[in-house]
């Protein structure tokens, strides 16, 4: 279990997220909802250690991850960024295998076994045909799945995804989330920021609702009616009822 207790993060002396606490249990899909600029990306970057915490603590099984090296942190969190750095002329299987870095020695290059492993994972997500293609030649939806494979191969406890569905079409969104569920079934957990409440309700085990840098509500599939509660939340923050979450 990963415990996030009372974390706050500042960017240029401005408090972006404040007093955030929640837990990530293994094998859960947690959806992070909230309007633009409410601090979802900042939260994800704070968890990764890309931004320094102003206050609070993140613990994995009781160990403070602030004290860990990048290599040890890679055991806890994998990351699927919203804006990706496209590396020139790199092949898809090489992007996938880069997730294996934490298992590799410093001077080591990916071996044939590593490549086979990458292709095996890509087969699982039905994109093995892309293995030898250049990363710059594939579509946005395929790119997202390639990155998902990279997160999978990293075997980290929890995958943090920053708006993975944003540039995908209706069908691809569902496809992506179904494939993400494969990971959850194998015991990994996922924390993703998302805008579409329908998708959050359909695939999420828990919903964390953020507003102006704070957690406004935590919803759980098992302990309440997430749909009704979510409806109530949207009514609170938006003046008019423009959203209709299913009848």
């Amino acid at each position: 279990m990963i415990e996030i207790s009372n974390i706050s993060t500042k960017i240029h002396d401005k408090m972006i997220i404040e007093d955030i606490s929640f837990e990530i249990e293994d094998g859960q899909m947690i959806m992070l909802l909230g309007e633009n600029g409410c601090g979802k990306t900042t939260l994800i970057k704070s968890l990764l250690g890309h931004l320094l915490l102003a206050e609070g603590m993140i613990c994995a099984d009781g160990k403070d991850i602030d004290q860990m090296t990048w290599r040890q942190k890679a055991e806890i969190f994998a990351y699927l960024p919203q804006i990706k750095n496209i590396v020139d002329d790199i092949k898809c299987w090489e992007v996938v295998i880069s997730g294996r870095n934490r298992f590799m020695k410093f001077f080591q290059l990916p071996t044939i076994e590593d490549k086979a492993k990458a292709i095996r994972i890509m087969k699982k997500f039905k994109i093995e045909a892309l293995a030898e293609k250049k990363i710059s030649e594939i579509s946005g939806g395929q790119l997202q799945i390639v990155y998902l494979c990279r997160c999978f191969i990293q075997e980290a406890r929890c995958v943090l995804m920053d708006e993975p569905c944003t540039y995908l079409d209706f069908y691809k969104q569902h496809l992506f989330l179904q494939q993400a569920q494969i990971m959850v079934k194998e015991g990994y957990s996922i924390l993703m920021s998302i805008h579409d409440p329908h998708l959050a309700l359909k695939y999420g085990d828990k919903i964390i609702f953020m507003h102006q840098g704070k957690i406004m509500a935590k919803l759980d599939k098992n302990t309440g009616n997430m749909k009704e509660e979510l409806k109530g939340l949207y009514q609170q923050i938006y003046p008019e009822q423009i959203i209709d979450i299913g009848g």
């Binding site: 090296t69 990351y79 870095n101 934490r102 290059l109």
Partner: protein, 324 residues
């Protein structure tokens, strides 16, 4: 697949080497030169080939390879197609350091050390400046590089003003244009151990360097990007300064060759490492051979590489192949 490309480039390098060895200002036919070479240093021509041309050719190949690979590394780790030692101000920094050494000390080693210190300082200032400013990442780096170049050349002019016009000024001026005319076996041997070790380490690190291109993402799969970045930049500055201290400024190779290799072979950094080394060697050796044989006097190498560079950039520019 890779083997074919390596053989192709290796073959080209060998042919260029032979041509470069056989032709020079000492007028002699190719056959005559070949036989003189085989007979060793018995004849004047043989002496020229063994003691002047051969070390020079080897040095030029090493220099070309190093310049190309350092450009390629800069382009990869900064994710910037315009990055190279020239653009980042490293070259100007090295030049300034070496010029100070020419004026103040008369030892070749000092030239190298000063070039290294100033080159590294220029890169660091450039990076610091680029990261402190908001805006386009790629443009910031290029503009910071331009600022560093301006500062370095201003100081360089001060050095030139204070230099002794009868001896030092000429040395600085000629050395700034770059040239391989005074390469000896001794100078070649000075550079070989360092170059071999550093290139070998960088070669072993090539996968990690490639991962740096993922930027901050690389942290999340366990790469300590800052440490590797610093190590690679320092090694790069050492390589660049060792070349610049001996043969002066050779411009454009670091920008040009990696692009040519990328456009021709379309492979990533990891697989293009050796191709870049060979490509840089071939390109610079061709330029040097031209500079030796074109006129009765030797044309400074940077003139030739700049002309090639400009033509190549015009082609890229017109065809719309530069995408930032």
């Amino acid at each position: 697949m890779m083997k074919k490309e390596l053989i192709c480039l290796g073959g080209t390098l060998l042919i260029t080497m032979i041509i470069s060895l056989l032709y020079g200002r000492y007028g002699a036919g190719a056959l005559e030169a070949a036989s003189a070479f085989v007979h060793g240093t018995a004849t004047t021509l043989g002496k020229i080939m063994w003691q002047i041309r051969l070390p020079r050719i080897l040095f030029v190949i090493i220099a070309g390879g190093i310049l190309a690979i350092s450009g390629q590394i800069f382009q990869t780790i900064f994710k910037n197609p315009l990055a190279s030692g020239d653009v980042l101000g490293a070259t100007s920094g090295c030049a300034l350091g070496a010029a100070i050494a020419i004026v103040s000390f008369n030892v070749v080693y000092m030239r190298w050390i000063m070039a290294f210190v100033f080159g590294l300082m220029a890169i660091c200032c450039c990076l610091l400046l680029a990261t402190k400013v908001k805006g386009s990442r790629i443009l910031n780096l290029v503009i910071s590089g331009m600022i560093m170049q301006a500062i370095c050349s201003a100081f360089l002019m001060i050095i030139k003003l204070t230099a002794d016009p009868y001896q030092q000024l000429g040395t600085i001026e000629f050395w700034l244009m770059g040239g391989f005319s005074d390469i000896t076996w001794q100078k070649l041997m000075m550079i070989i151990p360092l170059a071999t070790i550093l290139i070998f380490i960088l070669y072993k690190l090539r996968w990690q360097i490639q991962l740096l291109a993922f930027g901050q993402e690389a942290n999340s799969f366990g790469v300590d990007t800052q440490v590797i970045m610093i190590v690679v930049i320092i090694m790069n500055a050492m390589l660049l300064s060792s070349i610049i201290a001996i043969c002066g400024i050779v411009s454009w190779v670091g920008l040009l060759v990696p692009h040519i290799i990328r456009l021709t072979f379309k492979v990533d950094f990891c697989h293009s490492f050796i191709l870049n080394l060979l490509g840089g060697g071939i390109f610079l050796l061709m330029c040097d051979t031209i500079s030796r044989n074109l006129f009765a006097f030797e044309v400074p190498i940077s003139i030739i590489t700049s002309i090639f560079g400009a033509v190549f950039l015009i082609i890229l520019f017109v065809k719309g192949m530069i995408d930032i």
